[in-house]
């Protein structure tokens, strides 16, 4: 395997001298994909058959691409050839390869990887069940739509400009402020939202239905509207804002304002998640704890919270993610001091797309890494989500 990779790599390096690095890299990706898929296919359908296919593929490559100088023709023939050998994985991969390099040129690499994965999954799944194939295909299409811009952003960023961006003092302070405010906001929602979630699940009180709807309101309200509402309530020229300002507390254009706006938009995620986690703890378990001598408070802290910690923590991660990505209400309520997303928007409006890209890439990498880290953290703490109490 290693030997084959080394030899193929060496051949493509040699080709780079002849064709130029760009074309050689593209060819390398294509041939690599064919080789990897072929290896899998060979173990299934027999070595001889695959050797025959590989020989034909090389023949096409040499004669049609180099000999006749028509890479498009080569692509089409390779697809037909792979189809004739009944290797749908390779036929599809080559087609996707051609499409992504001709149509989605800037996103070619991430698009090729994602779409090939989709294709392989589709071939694997539809082999057995049709409905499964459809659901998988539909689901993956959504994943491609959401992942493609993010992967493209990261893949096409120039490492040099990334490094330059990281060393910028404004950007670093913006990132720092974002992390700090999102963390404070999440802590605030944990402190106040989690008890509310418990009350919503376990108690009956007047106005509960109203409150239940109100919890989701921040998701419904456009973010700019939320910012305007907060500004109308807490702005420097309003009664409440004036009162706060007289004791030295500024909401608009301050870190406190950022936290308030973030709490506003992110609270539903944690509260809803905590509510479903609490609802999954059967009342019988709480009753057992109480008859053993635990007061309601002790039962809540020693039994209910640990049992729903998985759900609360996933809610906290979502809440944090929502807080750090908030822009709309901050643009109205607290544009300065700048959080990272505002900073990126600021650069975009002032200097344009290319200048905003590196900062965006860094923010995506950082947030994605933290998000995955928190999700990973959840499991070793034995806080697995969605236990059953049957």
């Amino acid at each position: 395997m290693m030997l084959a990779l080394t030899i193929t790599g060496a051949i493509h390096l040699l080709l780079a001298l002849w064709l130029g690095p760009g074309a050689a890299a593209i060819l390398g990706v294509c041939n690599g994909a064919v080789a990897l898929l072929g290896r899998h296919h060979a173990s299934r359908c027999g070595r001889h058959r695959f050797t025959l296919f590989a020989a034909g593929y090389l023949f096409l490559l040499v004669v049609v691409w180099w000999g006749a100088g028509t890479p498009v023709m080569f692509g089409l023939l390779a697809v037909v050839f792979a189809a004739a050998f009944a290797i749908p994985e390779i036929a599809g991969a080559i087609l996707i390869f051609a499409l992504s390099f001709y149509i989605l040129t800037p996103y070619a690499l991430p698009a090729f990887l994602l779409l090939t994965l989709l294709w392989l999954g589709l071939v694997r799944v539809t082999g057995r069940r049709r409905l499964l194939g459809w659901t998988y295909g539909a689901g993956f299409a959504i994943a491609v739509v959401t992942l493609l811009p993010i992967l493209g952003l990261v893949f096409t960023a120039n490492p040099q400009t990334l490094l330059m961006q990281v060393s910028g003092a404004t950007f670093r302070s913006a990132i720092g402020l974002s992390l700090l405010t999102a963390t404070i906001s999440t802590a605030a929602v944990l402190l106040f939202g989690v008890p509310l979630a418990y009350a919503m699940v376990r108690h009956r009180f007047p106005g509960k239905r109203f409150l239940d709807a109100a919890i989701d309101l921040p998701i419904l309200v456009p973010q700019t509207v939320a910012g305007i509402g907060l500004l109308l309530l807490l702005g420097p020229k309003t009664p409440l804002g004036g009162l706060l300002a007289s004791v030295g507390i500024d909401v608009a254009g301050s870190t406190l304002g950022i936290v308030i706006a973030q709490v506003f938009v992110s609270s539903p995620f944690l509260i809803r998640s905590a509510m479903s986690a609490f609802a999954a703890v059967p009342p019988n378990i709480e009753m057992s704890a109480q008859t053993l001598g635990a007061s309601p408070r002790s039962t809540f802290l020693r039994v209910v919270v640990p049992l729903s910690a998985g759900g609360i923590l996933s809610g906290a991660v979502l809440c944090w993610a929502r807080a750090i990505s908030e822009v709309g209400s901050l643009m109205v309520l607290a544009y300065h001091p700048m959080t990272a997303p505002i900073f990126i928007y600021d650069i975009f409006t002032q200097y344009g797309l290319t200048e905003a890209q590196p900062a965006s890439a860094i923010l995506v990498i950082l947030c994605l890494w933290l998000f995955l880290f928190f999700r990973w953290l959840r499991d070793p703490l034995r806080l697995a989500h969605g236990r059953s109490y049957a």
Binding site: P282, N284, I285, M287, S288, A289, Q290, T291, L292, G293, A294, S295, S298, V303, P306, L307, A309, R382, R387, Y389, A390
Partner: protein, 353 residues
């Protein structure tokens, strides 16, 4: 001086939305095993939860060792409560589960509880589970026994159990029931066990309380319930034998040559139900006077034999002690005469549903 019972429920009435418990009265004495039996929707679990303190109730209706429990919250009633289903705390180990209640005990009482756990583990047969780091892979029966140990560890005044063998395998359920039956004697904790299936508590319960639609229909020993049921419901639940309907207005029941007076009850509307006590019925060889019938089934039991006879299309069961087996006369198809002493007949008026 009479000692007050461990649990004394006195005409407890409590309305829950569209359902009500009405005039519930029963008690559980020290060392007793009492079962509350009733169908789904009889209010068993609500009654249990009210006793445990999860629903408020009027003063002077529930007494725990003579103390009015009205103002006591669940955590201060000192009752063991084994709820339905698996209620183990999954974030704790088996040991932490069993010792959960000990944190709320003080000083010497806590020391006693430690010793109690030492004795409970072998009694419940869960010694080898005690060091399991988590409760996730316990089987249904094991989980139930661990929950039982947890409920008993703090030394409760009374153990409440809500369908303790619900959804367990038959073999496991039998084993758990054997353990349950020993609890009052071995730990001194009286038991109140609720179930929909009377067969479950047939062996272990000292007394039964039959609950139907929020009302105590009858309370007493199983034997008493079976021979002298208070209502058709109690008769059917306790699987009373020789139950038959008597049409309204009938004064004498003809049973193939035997006349039984059935006009003992004060006049009322509706029909009557009669129950013939299988232990008080007498079988005599064919030429004697009595209702003539044929033996259609014989089954030997621990206390003699159970003989099924057919009279006039009716099938009746007669329990015979070993010394009255009638020897060779008792074979399938043998003609026999049945004598019905007056005290063998229990009459009740059909309740209106």
């Amino acid at each position: 001086m009479s000692r007050s019972p461990c649990l004394d429920v006195r005409s407890l009435t409590r309305v829950f939305g569209g359902f009500a418990l009405r005039e519930i009265t029963f008690d559980v004495d020290a060392g007793e095993y009492v079962a509350i039996v009733g169908p789904c929707g009889a209010g068993k679990t609500l009654l249990m939860e009210t006793i445990a303190g999860f629903h408020d109730h009027p003063a002077a209706t529930i007494f725990l060792q003579g103390q009015d429990a009205e103002s006591l919250p669940p955590e201060r009633r000192h009752l063991g409560y084994l709820c339905q289903g698996n209620t183990l705390f999954e974030h704790l180990s088996v040991r932490e589960n069993i010792r959960f209640g000990l944190r709320y005990l003080r000083g010497a009482v806590r020391g006693h509880a430690e010793g109690r756990i030492e004795r409970l583990l072998p009694l419940l047969g869960i010694k080898r589970l005690f060091d399991r780091p988590d409760t996730g892979n316990l089987s249904g029966g094991e989980a139930r026994l661990v929950a039982l140990a947890r409920a008993l560890a703090p030394g409760p005044r009374l153990l409440l159990m809500d369908e303790p063998i619900h959804s367990l395998d038959v073999a496991v359920a039998k084993r758990v029931l054997r353990v349950l039956a020993r609890i009052p004697a071995e730990t001194g904790v009286p038991v109140l066990h609720i179930t929909h299936d009377i067969a479950e508590v047939e062996r272990c319960a000292d007394r039964l309380v039959v609950l139907d639609r929020g009302v105590v229909v009858q309370a007493g020993r199983l034997r008493e319930l079976r021979r002298r049921p208070a209502t058709r419901f109690a008769a059917e639940l306790a699987a009373s034998e020789n139950l038959f309907e008597i049409p309204a207005g009938l004064r004498v029941l003809e049973l193939n040559g035997c006349r039984i007076a059935v006009d003992r009850l004060p006049a009322g509307t509706g029909g009557l139900l009669g129950v013939l006590d299988p232990e008080r019925l007498e079988l005599v060889p064919s030429p004697s006077p009595g209702a003539s019938g044929r033996v259609v089934g014989i089954r030997e039991t621990a206390g003699g034999a159970e003989v099924r006879i057919a009279i006039d299309g009716r099938r009746l069961t007669v329990h015979l002690p070993p010394d009255r087996m009638l020897g060779e006369l008792m074979y399938l198809g043998a003609p026999v005469k049945l004598r019905v002493p007056e005290r063998a007949l229990h009459l009740l008026r059909e309740e209106k549903r």
